[in-house]
């Protein structure tokens, strides 16, 4: 690992003042960035430590939550308000990583973590995300973990986060501070599809820092679940995951439904097409399969990952059936 200069930021203003310089990266928990530096995938010349910035988790006046960008993943997952009002967020975080990692990782860093595509990590492989224009070894390589939605001919990587899938379903908002001032972005607008520029994971501007995440109140979130399909029981990135929240009316119709998929695209994938099929409907098996089919209409599987289409359908059917039946404690 190359030597870097290291500065601890006292507050967001100080961090942003330093963070805009070329070669500078914000350092959250470091669980991803330090690893990438060791692998020579990232080589910042200076690090601005933002772990000391706000880690508070507070109620907002309208009934949602404001989560500091430096809140640890484990603190967020264990927070009583999150467990009671946004259980899918708690379950999503617990489905990811190990306890040791969650104790270090911050909310801001989790959002900005980079793909676990093995070709991205392998500096002997071609990767447009790591070296724009180099080509992509994943497209014709071993691509069972790669994207089935929204990929481009330049990149088929997936976003690895579990937490972000829940945030996508919750219509979260990300609070940013940067050299040009402060702004808010809807969560769905934070991550981007690769198109011709896969080296850009997000729409953040140079030097922008995630200071907080705002969760709006959502009644449906009390009836919510996160379920993850992975290679083994213990510890692996999602092959496919689903965050879901529902609210039923007296007639058993879906008054509200939120669905987001992980492991399928370059960004956490809000399944709006499926939601549109389901909203106002009774979610029987036929309707749920229709919803999955609508979401997957544009899917284009690669050589090794066609199984993900089946998994998406099965997940949507299984998780929503459980939620409607009142088995909200769907396994992570």
């Amino acid at each position: 690992m190359n030597p870097v200069s290291y500065v601890r930021a006292a507050d967001a203003g100080a961090a942003v003042a330093m963070g805009a310089a070329a070669g500078t990266r914000y350092l959250g928990g470091g669980t991803n960035l330090v690893d990438l530096m060791r692998e020579n995938v990232e080589a910042p010349s200076s690090l601005v430590d933002v772990c000391g910035l706000s880690a508070a988790i507070e109620d907002t006046p309208e009934g949602g939550l404001l989560i500091g960008g430096a809140a640890r993943n484990s603190a967020l997952a264990g927070h009583p308000a999150v467990r009671a009002r946004f259980p899918l967020l708690s379950r999503a975080i617990l489905a990811g990583a190990s306890g040791q990692i969650r104790n270090m990782a911050t909310v801001g860093g989790n959002i900005l973590q980079r793909t676990r595509c093995t070709y991205f990590y392998d500096d002997a492989a071609r990767c447009n995300k790591r070296a724009p224009g180099a080509g992509c070894d994943a497209i014709d390589g071993f691509n069972r973990i790669h994207a089935i939605l929204g990929a481009s001919s330049a990149c088929v990587a997936t976003h690895p986060s579990d937490m972000c899938v829940a945030l996508a379903a919750l219509d979260a908002e990300v609070m940013l501070s940067g050299p040009e001032g402060e702004r808010r972005l809807p969560f769905e607008a934070v991550h981007r599809l690769p198109d011709g520029q896969p080296d850009r994971d997000t729409t953040l501007l140079p030097g922008e820092l995630i200071t907080a995440v705002r969760l709006p109140p959502l009644a449906a979130a009390r009836r919510s679940a996160y379920r993850k399909v992975r290679d083994r029981a213990s510890y692996a990135f999602a092959l496919v995951s689903l965050a879901a929240a529902v609210e039923l009316d007296a007639a058993g119709r879906l008054a509200e439904v939120r669905l987001a998929l992980g492991g399928v695209a370059h960004k956490p994938w809000r399944a709006r097409a499926a939601e549109a099929v389901l909203r106002g409907q009774v979610p029987d098996e036929i309707r749920l399969k229709e919803a999955a089919a609508a979401e997957l209409a544009q899917a284009s599987p690669l050589r090794d990952n066609g199984f993900k289409l089946v998994m998406v359908e099965r997940l949507i059917v299984a998780v929503l059936s459980d939620l409607v039946a009142g088995n909200a404690g769907a396994a992570a």
Partner: protein, 919 residues
């Protein structure tokens, strides 16, 4: 910067970019271990203000003014933390390298988290134990009244207290010698190339750099990194640094500098001009006419069977008349199987410190299973007199065959000789995957003929083994793979056509089971298939066909005839697994499986036989001394890498002498202490080194008696050792009065005996999702008289865990260039606690006539039947043969979808009301 470490103030001066783990280790906090570098393995876990984190991912500056607790800080006033005590009580470690991180994590858990241990410990890898004793140890914290798991025969491992305190000294835990330098290796990016030119001037001029070695500095001499008692068992095809590279990751140059960081920076400055040569990425391609010869060497001098055709070695033979055997058969079954490339994944990576003293004595402290053979190899390669080389081990953090090689000692020693300064080398986890030998991938063809009455009439075995770029262990593994596998069956007609070939991929090497695991994966499935075709219970079919005492054990004429039935417990093992599976079939299914018609349930078993030691001799040396203080010292040549051989040596010595194990101190694995010892491989720790221990103890006891008789009269055999006195019933002599005395013990590794393992599974598989749930796992082992049941059970459970890793998760994938695609634990899936079932272990009641106190070996073999047993259970459940490991979830799903699109249970092809995910 200031911080608190284990309750005491500490000052660290971390370099920019340095992680907390390295900063702590450089300051002597060696309880913190390095197993990976990526937050995957958990060996470096510390508490930061009471919260467990991976110290390898934490920039050291982060710890300023904070409180760090390592495993050494868990004790309070000299009293072990309850979780440390529980790990001791349950033997919840073997090599112990993961233990500090495991303990720190476990100590941080509250009662609720302990209930979900699979989730709580998913950040910690243990490669040795299979996690059963770890789960029991943690569970015991909430069961204070539970009975002790330890029976009176199960002496605890003598290193235990040091292991759980984080005080056991692994290879790089010794105090750094003055002037220590660090070496890193530049590795090849190409699978096959000739080095035209290396420009290392900029690197040599870089700050802190003392030396850059290239092929111009290397002795012009070929050797094998593989180590055996008989040096000629592997081909001489390796140069210390070569001007031809034959796999991505091969050493090209070595940089020595004041720090690892400086060496890495200088390494980036080396420019190498390569002439690319055509790669050969599969054994099939290697055998094609016109394929490039990877080692164009003299066949006789290098001991390569056919260098022009890339064939390293062959086993070709026929006994009886196989054609006649097949003609006589009522059914003939044929199938082909493949096994994958696999990593040993021991947690302590390859490492060594080499130094040269004023007398020119080269001393290498190394993580090796074979210190004496490494001394021989260093002397040969560096052209030194053997008395000018000393090799010793600290505690060795796992091996499983992967440290039966000289893989880093040679290059570190060359640098130390050149610089006359101590040089340390430590592989990264990535290097472990890219350059340390893996298990030989094999293609296995089986043909079996059998009569209606269930008797095998012919066996034909074809094997194509991929040794990768170098032939280390290739021929020996092939020989072993084709021997005890078919030797298990009493069939008069057998034919073997096997070859091991070079490819330009990372080299293969010795791996637990030494080739048997691969062939047994195929053979035991074919045996199962024949039994089913005959309408017979597969266990019954095996009972009809396996060898029994008196039967010749035959495979090929290459087999040595020094193997005898010192004991025979296979009948008991088969009977036990049959009974257990019969009972398991009657057990109610978990409700979520019972209520879902898509789940298929099945049972299966497989059998394995193994010789108790390698062929061609395995020499063990032991010295037992009575010291002036009346206590004993046992000096053992062989190494221990967690398998518990040291414990059994203590037991054997104590029982033979008639004293208590606590009166015996052990030293081991140091060429300065004894003349020669073959080392720790081939499951010889108890069976062979134990015999040498018994020999030494008998001789010392005889000396004691003679001495007592000479001093005080009476026949020598009237004197008995009783604790710390020698007594003839009337007189009592303190041992110190007879000291000093010493006796040497030896064992030659012949004759050998055979050991047996049978594994059974009951499982459920869910075709719509590819999910496998193991409902019952039973293992029966014939280890002779089991000296230490807890420890032996640990060997079995650990072997089964590795077998399940091979069957379900683990695969090193190569890219189109022959480089490793997944050189990290996050993409190479070693099982974690939540991934494994508990296995019920049964020991046959036998007493071996050749082994010490009736014991025989039980170290490699529990692995061998596991993947085949799982595949047989999968077949029983689904009617589909899984012929290639691993059976990952997507492969199970795909193969079942293709083979049985319409489940027998109903018309639905997609299950729609269950949980697709795991727990």
């Amino acid at each position: 910067m200031r911080l608190t470490v284990d309750g005491l103030p500490e000052t660290l001066a971390p370099r920019p970019g340095q992680c907390l783990r390295t900063a702590l280790r450089e300051t002597g906090h060696h309880g913190v271990k390095k197993g990976c570098d990526a937050g995957d393995c958990g060996a470096c876990t510390v508490l930061l203000d009471g919260v467990p984190v991976h110290s390898c991912l934490l920039p050291a500056f982060r710890a300023e003014n904070r409180s760090v607790t390592t495993v050494r800080g868990l004790e309070r006033d000299g009293t072990l933390h309850p979780v440390q005590q529980a790990f001791l009580d349950h033997n919840a470690f073997q090599c112990g390298f993961c233990t500090p991180g495991m303990l720190v994590t476990a100590a941080s858990l509250d009662q609720e988290q302990r209930q979900e241990l699979g989730r709580a410990l998913k950040g910690n890898i243990c490669r040795c134990t299979g996690y059963g004793p770890i789960a029991d140890a943690v569970a015991s914290l909430d069961l204070p009244d539970a009975a002790s798991p330890r029976d009176e025969r199960s002496l605890p491992p003598p290193a235990g207290p040091d292991v759980v305190r984080g005080r056991a000294g692994y290879t790089l835990d010794a105090a750094a010698p003055a002037g220590l330098l660090h070496m890193v290796l530049l590795r090849s990016p190409h699978p096959h190339a000739r080095i035209r030119h290396i420009d290392a001037e900029a690197a040599r001029a870089a700050p802190g750099v003392h030396l850059v070695l290239t092929h111009r500095d290397a002795p012009d001499l070929l050797y094998s990194s593989a180590q055996h008692e008989r040096y000629v068992d592997s081909p001489d095809d390796t140069r210390l640094l070569d001007d031809v590279v034959r796999h991505v990751g091969q050493r090209v140059a070595a940089v020595v500098a004041d720090s690892v960081a400086q060496a890495e920076e200088a390494r980036a400055l080396i420019r190498v001009e390569y002439e690319l040569l055509p790669p050969v990425l599969s054994p099939e391609a290697a055998l094609l006419p016109g394929a490039p010869a990877i080692h164009r060497k003299d066949a006789a001098a290098s001991r390569i069977a056919d260098p022009e055709r890339n064939v390293v070695g062959t086993v070709r033979d026929e006994i009886g008349d196989v054609a006649a055997g097949f003609a006589e058969a009522d059914i003939v079954h044929g199938a082909e199987y493949r096994t994958q490339r696999m990593s040993h994944a021991y947690l302590e990576t390859l490492s060594a410190i080499a130094e040269v003293d004023g007398d020119g004595l080269l001393t290498v402290r190394s993580s090796t299973q074979v210190p004496f053979l490494t001394r021989e190899a260093l002397a040969r390669v560096l052209e030194l007199p053997r008395n000018k080389v000393r090799v010793l081990c600290g505690r060795v953090g796992g091996g499983f065959g992967g440290k039966q090689e000289m893989l880093c000692e040679d290059v570190a020693a060359l640098a130390a000789l050149r610089l006359r300064r101590p040089v340390q080398i430590e592989f990264t986890r990535t290097e472990q995957f890219e350059a340390a030998p893996c298990r030989h991938p094999m293609r296995i063809g089986i043909r079996l003929g059998a009569r209606r009455d269930g008797i095998l009439t012919a066996m034909e075995l074809r094997v194509l083994s991929d040794t990768g770029a170098y032939g280390n262990h290739g021929p020996a593994v092939l020989y072993h793979a084709t021997n005890e596998s078919i030797g298990l069956y009493r069939c008069p007609n057998k034919k073997v056509d096997a070859q091991v070939v070079y490819t330009t991929t990372p080299p293969s090497g010795a791996f637990r089971g030494f080739g048997l695991g691969q062939v047994i994966f195929g053979l035991e499935q074919s045996v199962d298939a024949v039994a089913r075709e005959l309408g017979m219970d597969p266990v019954r079919f095996r009972e009809l066909n396996v060898v029994k005492p008196g039967d010749p054990m035959t495979s090929t004429r290459f087999a040595l005839h020094d193997v005898e039935y010192g004991s025979y417990g296979l009948d008991q093992c088969l009977e036990h697994v049959r009974t257990a599976l019969d009972a398991a079939r009657e057990e109610p299914l978990p409700p979520e499986i019972a209520t879902d018609p898509d789940w298929r349930v099945g049972t299966g078993s497989a059998t394995a036989m193994i010789d108790s030691a390698p062929p061609f001799g395995h020499k063990a040396s032991v010295r037992l001394m009575l010291r002036e203080d009346g206590r004993f010292e046992l000096v053992v040549g062989t190494a221990e890498f967690g398998n518990g051989s040291t414990t059994t040596h203590l037991q054997i010595a104590a029982r033979t002498l008639g004293t208590a194990p606590c009166r015996i101190a052990v030293r081991q694995s140091d060429t300065a202490l004894l003349d020669h010892d073959t080392g720790a491989f081939g499951s010889t720790g108890t069976a062979i080194a134990g015999l040498a221990t018994q020999d030494a103890a008998r001789r010392l006891l005889a000396l004691l008696r003679e001495q007592a008789a000479a001093m005080h009269g009476g026949a020598p055999d009237t004197w008995r050792l009783d604790g710390d006195t020698l007594s003839d019933g009337v007189r009592h002599l303190p041992l110190s009065a007879l000291a000093p005395l010493e006796a040497d013990g030896h064992a030659s590794g012949t004759p050998r005996t055979v050991c047996f393992n049978v594994h059974g599974f009951r499982l459920a598989v869910h075709p719509p999702t590819g999910t496998i749930r193991i409902l019952r796992s039973v293992h029966a082992a014939d280890a002779g008289h089991v000296l230490n049941p807890m420890q032996c059970r640990g060997q079995v459970e650990g072997g089964v865990a590795q077998g399940l890793g091979a069957a379900l998760f683990e695969r090193i994938r190569l890219d189109g260039n022959g480089g490793v695609e997944n050189p990290a634990f996050r993409s190479y899936h070693v099982p974690r606690l939540a991934d494994l079932p508990r296995t019920e272990v049964f020991f046959a009641d036998t007493h071996d006539s050749t082994g010490p106190l009736g014991a025989k070996s039980m170290s490699e073999s529990p692995f061998n039947p596991v993947p085949a047993a799982l595949a047989n259970a999968l077949f029983d459940a689904t009617g589909v043969r899984f012929t290639e490991t691993p059976f990952t979830r997507d492969i199970v799903w795909r193969q079942l979808r293709e083979a049985c699109p319409t489940p027998a249970s109903g018309a639905r092809t997609l299950q729609t009301d269950g949980a697709p995910a795991g727990p």
